[in-house]
Symmetry: none
């Protein structure tokens, strides 16, 4: 990755189209069968495409480092994930579909139980049911609208979790968590870590006091903790960085939110892979770059459901022909990170990748599996370099130097 | 690449010899035959050598980034090409065989057509023939010798292109192009981008006015544009950096110029591969490091002539025995970048490399092709690291730390 300033100087216009398909968490480890999910799945279409493509493996953010969805996607989109860290509060907000602007400060919050002496006796308020959470959030929204001119809005999550968004001018986010970390400790308010963030610290601490006032008669959820207070990072948009008109086809809020962060247009209302495919066809003429997200490979990975994961891969394989029929100039299929079913979690294992473009070193017989991609002509490389390869295949990068 | 300061500390003397052969642009993509040029060529000698060597692939400057000859060669010579950018004017001058010193400021220039009101009506003066260019350049050299104590010399290029070299003390090169970019726009003079460069801006702008005066009666070429104004970058010489007495064997001016930039001695008057080979033998005892350039693999690549490229590879193969007969301690054969015949241009695809030295992990059966080198013991790595490997094989690098 040569970096944003250098790549901008090399960008040249073209009318070519790039389709980047992210099979979330598709990579796996070999389980007791001795195979990965991609090896178990019957994927005649993926295999044919792989044999007509360049293949390889990508390291999500660094060797042995397991990435969250945020950094893993930023890498794939051509950004340095260590340079653009996305705060937890922001990710939580994106994850439940909240759209954040540059004046919004978001926080993850827990309902918590507080003793009269200000000791936090339960950091999760007894893991209250989600229905109870919704009732409490409504109560807060009815009673707390603004603090010192800053608009406050609360959104329910699952069980004891919720999200708060503070909207107003001049809120800096260099803030410590308001969380004693252990039960039985004195409650905490938000501390500013620099002078500029003092006003935000006062307002967010004021929010905690308002919550205690509004919920003073609740048995369990009579206070709250605030963590990961953050604003959206100032990321240069993909159209400005790469000269691409970009569109995201994704069904889950988190991925739509991440795409919005880098300036993609978002196709709303998509629920299934079929919806995404229809939208891809419908919008095909209007964009240079499509990000197409396949979520369920990751969901089944995190559930430890190998059968479900294999089935999802096969489902995707059966619709692949409709993507290739569009004949994009550059087609890339890869993952953001692995989600091995044995681990029931994200992992650091490299992602298989295939890139089909006009200028390739093909290796006949390649398949879209971890093992086969290991001997592909792209080798093993950093996911942050993927965009450079796609742009070059698309004739959208000038020569560096003469 | 550990960088110039760190590598200098590790250098140790030795009497070993290194020969670096650059088969310019030799790497290719698989064309309709399913093969690359190296796979099509019959190369018994290269193949035998590869099976006795370590092999791998190198990335010229970064994944997916297509380099010009300048940055690609700097990488191979062990320099960071992003740190030492070579200005366009300098490369253009090197390309037509002009030798530049530290007081020289070079510019690419176009003859252009200017209206009486100072509008550029043709940025290429109707692409005048090269013969006409020579006549105009002579006229300029006859009439413009110096400006404000700075010597000015003009050199013809092809069609409307020429090169100007300004020679004098204190010329800084932080200068904007004097080029309106579009026809129908007002002419531009050279602007200084910092205070230090003001004098150079005045002199180079003065040159444009002198040109307009001298050529005022010409029908088409009555003015000029200046672009890529630059001095040679202050690059530490290879002997100082690596402790090597170095010699370049190349026939084309650009490569001789690049070699001169890094302090190599230049063998002049070479025209063919045979000339280069004879000179290598003649000078073999006098140097530690030879850079041996094979140009035609690139020329045929850029022409889209696969047959010519294959033939050149075979020609080189047939003379390889005379190089290996010299029995250099370390022999490396690689490329600066790929020039696929399907692309008729430089590309970003990795370069095959073989290194034969005293201490190897050999892989029997290796060939000097893109595919075979993919499974070689060197793996795929940055071209900027090649010199580190050559120096180590040559016993010219100490252990780092204890």
């Amino acid at each position: 990755m040569i970096g944003e300033k250098k790549i901008q100087k090399l960008i040249q216009e073209n009318s070519t189209k790039i389709v980047l398909i992210v099979m979330d968490g598709v990579g796996d480890t070999t389980d007791s069968s001795g195979m990965t999910a991609l090896e178990q799945a019957k994927t005649p279409n993926l295999d044919r495409l792989a044999s007509e493509s360049e293949t390889g493996l990508t390291i999500p953010v660094d060797r042995g480092i397991t990435p969250g969805s945020g950094p893993a996607h930023l890498s794939l989109f051509g950004y340095d994930p260590f340079k653009h860290e996305i705060g937890r509060g922001v990710l939580e907000a994106l994850g439940i579909g909240i759209s954040l602007g540059p004046n919004d400060l978001a926080a993850r919050a827990n309902f918590a139980t507080r003793s009269k002496k200000g000791i936090i006796t339960d950091r999760r308020a007894g893991r209250i049911p989600t229905e109870e959470n919704k009732r409490l959030v409504k109560k807060l929204n009815d009673r707390i609208n603004s603090i010192d001119g800053v608009t406050v809005k609360v959104y329910p999550g699952k069980e004891h979790r919720f999200v708060v968004v503070f909207s107003g001018e001049g809120l800096s986010d260099n803030l410590a968590d308001a969380d004693p970390q252990q039960t039985g400790k004195k409650e905490k308010f938000v501390d500013a870590l620099d002078e500029e963030s003092q006003r935000a610290a006062n307002i967010t601490s004021g929010f905690i006091k308002n919550v205690q006032e509004v919920l003073r008669d609740e048995e369990k959820a009579n206070s709250c903790l605030l963590r990961g207070l953050a604003k959206i990072p100032g990321i240069i948009k993909m159209d400005e960085l790469f000269g691409l008109k970009t569109c995201a086809l994704a069904s889950y809020p988190m991925y739509k939110g991440l795409s919005r962060l880098v300036g993609m247009d978002i196709a709303d209302g998509l629920e299934t892979l079929d919806d995404e495919l229809k939208e891809l066809k419908k919008r095909y003429d209007d964009y240079d770059f499509f990000y197409f997200h396949v979520k369920k490979t990751d969901s089944y990975g995190e559930d430890g459901n190998r059968e479900g994961k294999v089935k999802t891969i096969q489902e995707f394989d059966s619709m692949l022909g409709e993507v290739t029929a569009l004949n994009p100039d550059v087609l890339c299929i890869t993952a953001d990170h692995s989600s091995p079913t044995d681990m029931k979690a994200h992992s650091w294992h490299p992602n298989p990748i295939l890139i089909k473009g006009p200028y390739m070193r093909k290796t006949p017989g390649q398949k879209f599996t971890e093992k086969s991609c290991l001997s592909g002509s792209l080798g093993t490389f950093m996911a942050g370099d993927v965009m450079q390869l796609l742009l070059s295949q698309a004739g959208r990068l000038k020569k560096f130097g003469a």
